[in-house]
């Protein structure tokens, strides 16, 4: 078996070199397919990052009337915390609200003057509610209509990020659909090219294969070199794709930090952490695809 494996390997590499240009074309197509898949992955990471960045900012400010006491506010906090959609509730007491307001507007004499005119603290306690995702908004707002608190609340205020999130999703979904279609097309072309490469390999080696058959070569010995060659081409393609993706991602990462702040979009990190899975998975995809098309070609042209 070991000796045979060595011979099969030798045979496979002979195939590779004898059809050098065909091998180049096959690998190029496989690389292109992989690059599209990786672009999709990058897109996905960036989208998720962008959305989570937006979702981070989602908050509902709940202003209570100034007569509402601490206990009621505490009850509301408890109630909100129990909701699955709520990520965090921050309480700002009436005094804090006052201080914050003064701090923010200390430069503005008009405002300060009118505050003085009111006398005392016109602010009630405030809650800042953070949601888990943009879609949870409506629910939280509705929950606050609970008759238990409804009359204590003076105003509910939220910035509507849902639309932004929807827009991000809409755009990236469109790109992703296009990318998936492209991957499909590339994969189909890759299958055809692999099929054709094997067909030509069989044609080039028809004499040898015919003789192999006559002298009793096992089917495995006849078929294995083609599978091995295609496995090798797949591996080469994955290697080249990884060799392109890693540097490109590292170049792109700082460009993204313009939009995402210091923590960046996390694509370089994503590829660093999951590189083995990502490219291992892609090799597996290629392996399956090439085994299928190689088998098809052999079934048709080798009749073994």
């Amino acid at each position: 078996m070991i000796v045979s494996s060595f011979r099969v390997t030798k045979f496979a590499f002979q195939n590779f070199w004898r059809n050098f240009w065909l091998s180049v074309i096959t690998v190029s197509m496989l690389v292109m397919t992989l690059i599209t898949i990786n672009i999709l992955l990058v897109l996905n990471v960036v989208t998720e990052e962008a959305i989570s960045l937006v979702e981070d900012r989602i908050e509902v400010s709940v202003y209570f009337h100034d007569y509402v006491d601490e206990a009621t506010v505490g009850g509301a906090v408890e109630y909100l915390r129990d909701l699955a959609q709520v990520r965090d509730v921050e309480t700002i007491s009436a005094d804090e609200a006052y201080e914050q307001f003064v701090e923010r507007h200390s430069d503005d004499e008009d405002i300060m003057a009118s505050l003085d005119e009111l006398g005392g603290n016109p602010f009630g306690p405030t809650l800042v509610v953070k949601a888990n995702s943009a879609e949870d908004f409506e629910l939280i707002i509705d929950a606050l209509d609970n008759p238990q608190f409804r009359d204590d609340i003076r105003e509910k205020d939220f910035s509507d990020y849902q639309e932004i999130v929807d827009r991000i999703r809409g755009t990236t979904d469109q790109i992703a659909t296009f990318g998936i279609a492209l991957t499909g097309i590339f994969l189909l072309i890759a299958i055809m090219i692999v099929f054709n490469t094997v067909r030509i390999g069989i044609f080039i080696h028809r004499e040898e294969i015919g003789i192999m058959r006559l002298v009793g070569a096992s089917n495995w010995f006849i078929k294995a070199p083609f599978h091995l060659e295609m496995m090798f081409l797949s591996l080469l393609a994955v290697g080249i794709a990884a060799g392109i993706v890693f540097p490109v991602v590292n170049i792109l990462e700082p460009k993204f930090s313009v939009y995402f702040g210091t923590q960046g979009a996390g694509i370089a990190e994503f590829f660093m952490e999951n590189g083995l899975w990502i490219f291992g998975g892609q090799f597996l995809i290629l392996a399956v695809v090439t085994i299928i098309s190689t088998s098809m070609a052999m079934r048709k042209y080798l009749k073994v």
Partner: protein, 226 residues
């Protein structure tokens, strides 16, 4: 060793290869198969090493019913039947030694066995001194002897030769036939398909004559008659 029962092979509905051939070839026999062109000699040979399947009838080789042999079992059969053709079927980019070794390699033989067997069979065919030559550097007769050497590496029980001398002159033909006789003397059953009257008459062994795909005559110590 070889037994055919009412074997027919039709390629297309109206193209007959062989029709209703029944034969028994005992182990160790040397049989010549003769007949006009297109009478099914090659078809008969191909049926023996399962290059073709019969349309009807039964074929047994050494007690093994190969009538409906599965594709995956064909390699096993081919290691028991040596085959030789008119056009030698050697690989031009391999040396004599490599051509012969190839037959062992593709069957998964160990290097040690290859180093043992190849010189031995080259010795039998008298080409051990030309082992490192390429086929193009050999005469037709020598090339055919390489092919025969290759057919012998698995020590086959049966050797099927389809017009092995078809491309050779009288002298080389005689050498090849002598070689086949020598192999037969070692105990291998030989089936020789030939057109060559001289060969058949000199052999004085069993002759099966085909006509339109049927056995027209089958005689011990026969002569070429047509």
């Amino acid at each position: 060793m070889i037994r055919l029962k009412k074997v027919s092979k039709t390629y297309h509905p109206n193209v007959v290869g062989v029709k209703g051939v029944s034969l028994h070839i005992p182990a160790g026999e040397f049989v010549s198969i003769v007949g006009k062109s297109g009478t099914g000699k090659s078809t008969l040979a191909k049926l023996l090493f399962a290059e073709e399947r019969p349309s009807s009838g039964v074929i047994e080789i050494g007690g093994w019913d190969i009538t409906h042999i599965h594709n995956r079992d064909i390699p096993l059969l081919r290691r028991q039947i040596g085959v030789v053709f008119q056009d030698f079927k050697l690989l031009p980019q391999k040396t004599v030694y490599e051509n012969v070794a190839f037959a062992l390699q593709v069957g998964g033989a160990k290097p040690r066995r290859i180093r043992e067997v190849v010189p031995k069979v080259l010795e039998i065919v008298g080409l051990h001194e030309k082992a490192s030559r390429y086929p193009r550097q050999l005469s037709g007769g020598e090339q055919q002897r390489v092919a025969i050497a290759r057919a012998l590496v698995h020590s086959p029980k049966v050797l099927v030769a389809d017009e092995p001398t078809g491309n050779l002159d009288t002298l080389n033909t005689r050498e090849i036939v002598d070689l086949l006789q020598k192999i037969n003397e070692f105990g291998t059953t030989v089936c020789l398909v030939t057109h060559d009257r001289e060969v058949v008459n000199r052999l004085k062994r069993r002759v099966i004559t085909l006509e339109d795909g049927k056995v027209a005559s089958d005689v011990e110590q026969g002569r070429y008659k047509l």
